[in-house]
Amino acid sequence: MADLSTNFLGIKSPNPFWLASAPPTDRYVNVTRAFKAGWGGVVWKTLGEDPPVVNVSGPRYGAIHGADRRLIGLNNIELITDRPLAINLQEIKQVKREFPDRAMVVSIMVPCEEKSWAHILPMIEETGADGIELNFGCPHGMSERGMGSAVGQVPEYIEMVARWCKHYTRMPVIVKLTPNITDIRRPARAAKAGGADAVSLINTINSVMGVDLDRMCPSPHVDGKGTHGGYCGPAVKPIALSMVSEIARDAETQGLPISAIGGITTWRDAAEFIAMGAGTVQVCTAAMTYGFKIVEEMITGLKSWMDAKGYASLDEFRGRAVGNTTDWQYLNLNYVVKARIDQDLCIKCGRCHIVCEDTSHQAIWPIVDGVRKFVVNDAECVGCNLCADVCPVEGCITMEHQTEGTDPRTGLRYDRPYANWTTHPNNPASTVKIAAE
């Protein structure tokens, strides 16, 4: 049976599933319920200085739904904890005492002044918490006050605050990054330079969920006005995965532990992030959509997959996908695939044809021998995958690797060896030119 236990910066947890700093980790009742449900750890809802912030009393959340109201994306304008610091600290202490085997990380956001950090860190250490996470992420509200993403967008500030934290506490320091930045490697490098033990990402993405076309204001609205909020949930997973992969494979930050966050909803999402190098995964929206019980699916799902693959521990597959993540310029330009339609599975909806005809390469015939039949024309197919992406039948269209013969589209042989853009004759910057066959 696969072992899910995790040791992240010396912080141990029975499984890699942590609840991200957010409403699910806001208070004693929530967190104890979560631990009883099986969560491996929590990052406590971000603490700030007293007096506590106040939240709006209008709607804080907005959502994007699928046809059957499946929640695809969530956005929020909630601020950090709105409860007094002392109450939070006392509850953190109590939970840690009751659940010593679970990870207890405390998220913090205080002003960018050394004395603020020097003041709060000993108080947190006193609770017995396992580590701290610096919230440099919130894109709304707090950023207007010079905190959250306003810090996270300036690598120099990240480095400076990380350094203060390392100075004032013995606890491991995790820097939580904002995705609202052009190049995620820059803040990660800064965190590392400041001495941070790990990064966690992503926090929420700046977003406006929609426009109320009757009121002519963003939706949801607070008394007729709306503001941008942080986007999260299944929709953001690909963005988070890309950012995690950037940090995992960056020469400067390689090996820096990562706690991955963003759209993790199932065991498979978690496995993907771990394969991309994550030490633990954090979940917020999935819990806010379905409740804490979903962790049971995540734990059992990850275990059965690992058992089927013969992985005894998470370390056995952690980071295995990082080496295969590369730049476009290194992709093999001589690797040729052609779409293949399984006529037994095809239900003749014609979507592959019309998308290829209207928007791609006119490579799928809709009628063959006078009957409705969808067949790929190899002479036009560039192997783009669009048809397979839109086909409603799973496995009906596959991209078949061509190894023998000649591509009727290009007239080039299929079995040419690996060659990439750096050496391509069309690349003005390439030094070594390999002539086209």
Binding site: I347, C349, R372, V393
Partner: protein, 451 residues
Amino acid sequence: MAYASDGIASHRLPPDDYVRNFADLTPPLSRHEATVAADRCYFCYDAPCAQACPTHIDIPLFIRQITTANPHGAAETILGANIMGGMCARVCPVEQLCEEACVREHAEGKPVQIGLLQRYATDTLMAEREGQPFVRQPDTGKRIAVVGAGPAGLSCAHRLAMLGHGVTVFDAKPKAGGLNEYGIATYKTTNDFAQREVDFILSIGGISVETGKALGRDVTLTQLQADYDAVFLGMGLAGFNSLSGMPEFAQVTDAVPFIEELRQASDKATVPVGRKVVVIGGGMTAIDAAVQAKKLGAEEVTIAYRRGPEHMKASQFEQDLAKTSGVTIRHWAVPKSFDGTDGRLTTVLFDHAPPGLNGPPETVAIQADMVLAAIGQSLFDEPLGRTVALSGGRIVVDAERRTSHTGVWAGGDCVFGGQDLTVAAVEDGKQAALSIDRFLRGAQALPQAAE
């Protein structure tokens, strides 16, 4: 109380049962149900469902309009191709038309619920918007006479009015709607939908309806041709085929008038029905008569059909509906005679000759105190006075629905080679209107297409 007495009687059931029995057969979709059902559509290229629709409604488009919370737009898409989209959504045998062709029917045996989605869109439009989405083109000054206010006639009239022509519709009955009003099963068109739809169609303007005016009795074809620029015949089938050579009993009647009485009764409890009913026939009318007899409280209802299940004109869905409603269907039963005492019917005798039976047919006796004949209707052609060519007792038309008589078009059940469906009648009316319009505008007449 007539609950279990023999003979033909009304009030066989407690009053509440009638309300339940004649309620909507398939209740409409809610907004959320419609959104979920619509999401199953793949928006097929050159969609097979739309090809299978006799009126060629752009089904993937209207379904997509539902998914984007635009039911009015969806309804316009539907009604632009089929002005009776509301009724068709209720009565079309979709399992033989669009839903049969849906790729998801082939893939999973579960088609997109096209009929119910169409109903959702059209009901929503009619409930939320006054009038209709179509406006008339400038008046052409041309006048067309339409005979019959059924689906064919009303569809033709509506399209002509849209195109700017003036239309007078003559119908022998007191109400417009044809079989929508007098024939379709009660549980398929509840809440007086037929009349609401007639009002909706007529709201375009430019159409006057003269009910109680029969061709042959109150007007003649010659007269109409003299007074109008063109004539459209959509007179349906006013005659019934009879069970010839059988003893006569008062308890043996035609199914269509029985259904008509039921449709017109404001209190269904007042409609008399037998305790043991035999319906003779194998089409939609037979099924409707049998199911409704059962719903009126008949204890035993049997459909006797002279051939096998695969030969029945009623669709599988309809046959299943009969069975689940408690109707027994007997195949290979050819009516032979009636028996009774003191003029009261007691028994129907059949020759039962299933395929593979050696020797002469067996005689089967089924007890009955009421027999409904649903063995087909026929064109009552007297009013036409040999002006138009007939085939198989019905009017011959070309692809444009032109009869052999210049200036006279025809469509719906009264023409030869049709499908005898509401939706087919609507298409005939629409195509005839387009042809009449071309004719009146002096466009070059298209070559007569072979059908």
